[in-house]
């Protein structure tokens, strides 16, 4: 089945039908396997929240009207009612409009839209090839074909938890980046392994750069790309607590995996990740942001946090855990629990493995899943979640529980399906729970 990418970098490639060309023959509606196409007396339209880009409707359309796409902020697709009223397709949004509109888009999307727009304005094109998070994934990993009819991403919240602190966003754009100084750069995976991951601390000096756990920044690598244009920014999550990696200083940490191969295993050197991992203390970097206003931790004393991550998706989890650890001494979070599901190929590749192991068991409930340990069956985070179904279900019954998922895109569906299974097996109503989690800003998905 041919599919097309619908969401990349926070931008939805929205499927639309050109009302000027469409002859209302009903073929598309009859063909669509998931009933994502409907009509009124005027127009045939595609429901953005249902369409999975399977392309089944494309070839049967006799007119070509069906093969129309518009890039819009992922959170703001053209609604059905608007489409019913169209005599013609709306003009495509410019890169600037997309960036501006996308400033309100949920976390990851928000930053990526800004970066994508910056890339566009420098003529480097948009899309995944221009931005990536600190991860082993090559840039193309962001470009993920949406093939499943079960669209995990649609369950993610776009609002922050009610008790989250207010986040500053977009203080520094691509045209006025902040110069930060490297004050620390250590390998936080076991030394000697190919897939090393660095913990890098940046100091902002006297420049304002307030960040919260769960937010991200953009790093602009120096130099130019193959076409001679300046590199565009790459996005990284903050791995430190809100009051700094070193409390009381204007600094923040990032988790950066050195990219040495693309998704197919072909050797490739990630531009930004290698630049960052090779930085020495005292070097300076260009930073933009902060980004993100919904992937934010709850702060009320009874709030529980379930964290599910792989690889460098651990950055925001490390930040939240660290902030909780610092506050724990105040006794404020005695009722609030932390539960972590953390996946990696091997224990050696798991960032922060050592420090995590040393945290008290009554502070955080750690669950690791390793997929490439010789002699052992492959185990993924969703397997660990299913094993802990009873405890997870207990937490999910509590409206104080917030769930954060961060890591490779490929984990998203499995994790949401596991959550669904846990909920259903516990006798709860998935639709109701999922809807509340989303509405109340209690399930956050940030995958790349």
């Amino acid at each position: 089945m041919t599919t097309t990418t619908l969401i990349a970098n926070g931008i939805l490639n929205q499927h639309l039908i050109d009302p000027e060309i469409c002859i209302r023959c009903n073929t598309c509606e009859a063909t669509c396997p998931i009933d994502a196409i409907t009509h009124d007396d005027t127009n045939y339209v595609v429901m953005a929240d249902k369409c999975n880009g399977c392309m089944d409707c494309i070839s049967p359309c006799p007119t070509g009207a069906i093969d129309n796409w518009r890039k819009v902020p992922a959170a703001e697709p053209y609604p059905i009612d608007a489409q019913y009223g169209w005599d013609e397709l709306p003009p495509a949004l410019s890169a600037e409009q997309l960036a501006a509109a996308a400033s309100d888009v949920q976390d990851l999307s928000q930053a990526q839209a800004v970066i994508a727009a910056a890339a566009e304005s420098t003529g480097s094109g948009t899309g995944s090839s221009t931005s990536t998070r600190a991860s082993a994934s090559s840039a193309s990993s962001v470009e993920q074909s949406v093939q499943e009819s079960f669209r995990a991403a649609s369950f993610g919240a776009t609002v922050p938890p009610w008790s989250a602190a207010h986040a500053y966003t977009n203080l520094h754009g691509p045209k006025n980046p902040v110069t930060a100084t490297v004050v620390g750069n250590i390998n936080c995976t076991e030394a000697g392994f190919d897939n090393e991951t660095h913990h890098i601390v940046l100091d902002f000096g006297s420049m304002p750069f307030p960040v919260l756990e769960g937010q991200s920044v953009g790093i602009i690598p120096p130099g130019t790309d193959a076409t001679g244009r300046p590199h565009v920014a790459r996005q990284y999550s903050i791995a430190s607590a809100r009051n700094g990696e070193r409390p009381g200083y204007n600094n923040a940490a990032l988790t950066v995996k050195r990219v040495t191969a693309d998704h197919e295993g072909r050797p490739v050197r990630g531009v930004a990740s290698n630049y960052l991992c090779d930085l020495k203390v005292g070097d300076t970097v260009q930073v933009i942001g902060p980004f993100g206003h919904s992937f934010l931790m709850p702060n009320h004393p009874r709030s529980h946090i379930v964290m599910i991550c792989t690889g460098t998706g651990s950055a925001p989890m490390r930040a939240m855990t660290e902030w909780r650890r610092r506050l724990r001494k105040s006794g404020k979070f005695d009722g609030g629990k932390l539960m972590l599901f953390f996946g990696a190929r091997t224990p050696q590749e798991l960032p922060y493995f050592g420090p995590l192991q040393s945290l008290p068991k009554d502070f955080i409930d750690n669950n690791f899943a390793f997929s490439r340990v010789p002699g052992q069956p492959r185990r993924y985070v969703q397997d660990a979640m299913r094993e802990r179904a009873a405890d997870l279900a207990a937490l999910l019954r509590d409206e104080n529980t917030h769930i954060f998922v961060c890591g490779l895109k490929s984990m998203e569906e499995g994790v949401v399906l596991a959550l669904r299974d846990v909920i259903v097996q516990a006798g709860m109503d998935w639709d109701g729970v999922a809807a509340r989690l989303k509405q109340q800003g209690r399930l956050h998905l940030e995958t790349y």
Binding site: M1, T2, E20, I21, I23, R24, C25, N26, T27, A30, T31, P33, D41, T42, M55, D56, C57, I58, S59, P60, C61, P62, T63, G64, D67, D87
Partner: protein, 475 residues
């Protein structure tokens, strides 16, 4: 099974080779079909390589494959939509029972009649359009005509398969008769009136594919609901093909309008004579063609009250358009519907039992759909700033079938005397003069990317090919 076996004489996805008797019967029908195609198919086109769409499977990914094919080698065959497991009848008196895989004896005659009537329209279109290739306004249009032709031929195959497979000797005889009748033949005409009308020019062709093929859409959609599962599956796939025919009509008329508007603006006139002199079709003529094709086509739905229609519905043979989407009891026994009648020279509505009015229900669905398309045509004039709007005539205008047959009615729904009708019918329906003027514009224009002066180019090519693509190659 969705993949079509093209390695056999009759491509199919119905495991034809597993039924030797049927295979032999169809293989003996096939030479007659080819002979019919040679005799009355597109004139002079034998050696053309045409950029045609062919199905390799009936799933969405496989059914629209494009490539150059000689029309005579087009892979006509038998393609049914995949079966829906445990499908049940969803309307009529058998609602809730399992759909039929064989023809129930008591419905045999009616089903055969429905299939023969539908089947008869398919070759008729090809016959009506036989000479159009000689006056094609562009390569693009020529290709579209040929695509319509080969698919009409395949629709004939679809019905013939049902007749052969499920109706025994009667079916075989009916299948032969489908190739013996001929459009407009005085002695042995096609069953339905509209299919004996001439399609002498491309404006008629566009109007025909817009209005009359749209009748096909509604009839096929109603049959796609049938309790007789093979018929439902066959017509479902035909609907996918039918859409192209309506596209040719809708976009064709739209392009004619666009070109006329362009010239009207260039010359700054709406003077019919000046426009005709400039080689475009004036808008009042367009309206008259519309009136004719619309009124002839709505007759195809049959009498406004029909006990046959009630029987077809109650017994599950033929549903309503989008039956599955309607929120009623799908039995309709106690419901009524309004139909028109003329009393004392005045039109009035009367309530009749819904079951008896199902032809009218389908006609009204069709009318709504047709009107929406005419509104889209009007946008062409609106955009060009021209103060002229097309409209469909009243339902009672120029009718030959049902309670309104022979009632003299103006296009706006006013009963008129025979005298007024005679004096004004040339305002309302195409005159010989109109037809000969339109015919005078019909000259072949076949250089890639060139279009006759009376029609605008399309907004996009077929299968995303450029408009000046070599859609037909002449050997």
């Amino acid at each position: 099974m969705s993949t079509i076996d093209y390695s056999v004489k009759i491509p199919n996805n119905v495991d034809l080779s597993g039924d030797r008797t049927l295979q032999r019967a169809l293989e003996s029908w096939q030479p007659n079909f080819i002979k019919w195609w040679d005799d009355v198919g597109p004139e002079g086109s034998t050696h053309y390589d045409v950029y045609l769409r062919t199905a390799v499977s009936v799933d969405p990914q496989g059914w629209a494959q494009f490539g150059y094919v000689k029309m005579r080698d087009y892979r006509w065959g038998i393609f049914l939509n995949p079966a829906e497991q445990d499908r049940t009848i969803h309307f009529g008196d058998h609602k809730g029972e399992k759909a039929w895989q064989e023809v129930p004896g008591e419905h045999r005659a009616n089903l055969r009649r429905i299939i023969v009537t539908q089947g008869d329209t398919e070759p008729a279109s090809v016959e009506q359009q036989r000479h159009l290739g000689l006056t094609a306004p562009s390569l693009y249009d020529l290709r579209n005509l040929f695509q319509v032709n080969v698919e009409e031929g395949r629709h004939l195959w679809a019905m013939v398969y049902l007749l052969h497979k499920y109706f025994g000797r009667d079916g075989r005889e009916e299948a032969e008769a489908l190739l013996e009748r001929q459009s407009g033949d005085e002695n042995n005409p096609r069953i339905l009136g509209a299919f004996n009308e001439k399609t002498p020019d491309w404006l008629s062709f566009f109007m025909f594919t817009y209005f009359t093929d749209r009748d096909g859409k509604f009839q096929l959609a109603a049959l796609a609901e049938s309790a007789f599962d093979p018929l439902a599956r066959t017509t479902r796939f035909m609907l996918t093909e039918e859409a192209h025919h309506m596209f040719v009509g809708e976009s064709g008329v739209s392009r004619v309008l666009q070109r006329t508007c362009q010239v009207m603006n260039e010359l700054g006139t709406d003077d019919v004579n000046k426009l005709r002199a400039a080689g475009v079709i004036d808008l009042p003529t367009m309206q008259r063609y519309l009136n004719f094709h619309y009124s002839v086509t709505i007759d195809l739905f049959g009498a406004d009250q029909s006990s046959n229609a009630a029987t077809f519905y109650s017994s599950g043979l033929k549903g309503r358009y989008e039956e599955g989407k309607r929120a009623d009891d799908h039995a309709l026994h106690d419901q009524s519907y309004k139909v028109l009648e003329v009393v004392d020279g005045k039109l009035q509505e009367k309530d009749v039992p819904m079951l008896n009015a199902l032809n009218e229900v389908l006609r009204d669905d069709y009318i709504k759909d047709s009107n929406a398309g005419v509104a889209r045509w009007n946008k062409v004039m609106e955009k060009a700033g021209i103060d002229f709007r097309l409209s469909v005539p009243h339902k009672a205008f120029n009718r030959q079938i049902g309670a309104l047959a022979g009632v003299r009615m103006s296009p706006d729904g006013r009963p008129v005397t025979e005298q007024e009708w005679e004096s004004r019918k040339n305002e309302w329906l195409p005159t010989d003069g109109d037809r000969s003027f339109v015919a005078s514009l019909m000259k072949q224009c076949l250089a890639p990317g060139k279009f006759a002066g009376w029609i605008a180019p399309p907004v996009m090519g077929i299968n995303r090919q450029p408009v000046d693509f070599d859609y037909v190659k002449f050997q």
